[in-house]
């Protein structure tokens, strides 16, 4: 079963992270690397990505002619995706355990855990 573990935070939270002492940031990154390595070794790792900062985010809508209309203004309360892990595990409990480890390495940040939709799409 595939799950995605989503780490989200506000733009203000990201600024706060930049203010962490260098050694704390290094320790944080080292634990995340360790987790990725463990997941690779257990065969549960599918993918992980960090996203660029909220200030680089745009929200896009298509206008009547399908031309993209971009906007970069977000409410301050908006939670941005900071990064994610995709794992393939036997059950939800294992996904929660991995999320717990990531949370533990990241100031106990909440990690949203979501299962991939698996329904078959019939060919038309």
């Amino acid at each position: 079963m595939k799950y995605i573990l989503l780490m989200s935070g506000t733009a203000a939270g990201v600024e706060g992270y930049h203010a962490w002492p260098k050694q704390d940031i290094e320790a944080h990154m080292a634990v995340l690397h360790r987790i990725n390595k463990d997941l690779a070794e257990s065969g549960e790792f599918i993918a992980t990505q960090g996203l660029a900062e909220p200030k680089e985010a745009k929200v896009v809508r298509g206008d009547k002619n399908g031309v993209p209309v971009t906007d970069g203004i977000f409410p301050e309360s908006k939670e941005f995706l900071l990064g994610y892990w995709i794992v393939d595990v036997p059950n939800a409990e294992r996904a929660y355990a991995i999320a717990g480890r990531i949370s533990s390495a990241s100031s106990n940040m909440p990690i949203e855990v979501r299962q991939f939709a698996t329904y078959e799409v019939k060919s038309r």
Binding site: D63, P68, R124
Partner: protein
Amino acid sequence: MKYILMMNTMKSGHGVPGWPGKDLQAHIGFMIDINKELHERGELVSAEGLSFPDLAKLVRAGKDGRPLTDGIFPESKEFLAGFWIIDVDGPQRAYEIAAKVSAAPGPGGAPLNMPIEVRPIMSGPPPEML
């Protein structure tokens, strides 16, 4: 350059939209066509749909590192419904693709024009943090 296109359109308690079956089929068919086109152009890295919010959990580590799960979310929370990761020449192309996805057909075949969040993906942590 890699970008993620996020469809943050689901709200707590919502399942499959109550559209007529043919409208749902047209919507899904549209998404399949886009994925096919992106794949043929060599721009598709991955595309996934997520299960509905009723299966979502929020996990924090307890003091001993054990997972504490919570399934209560504010009503205003937007849930990720699905995402695309694309590898394109620049932001303009990412926005073009996002606009196409935004205009996916809804009830009666009218374009939904839903907002799609577009974010560059980092190639890796800054070297000084490794």
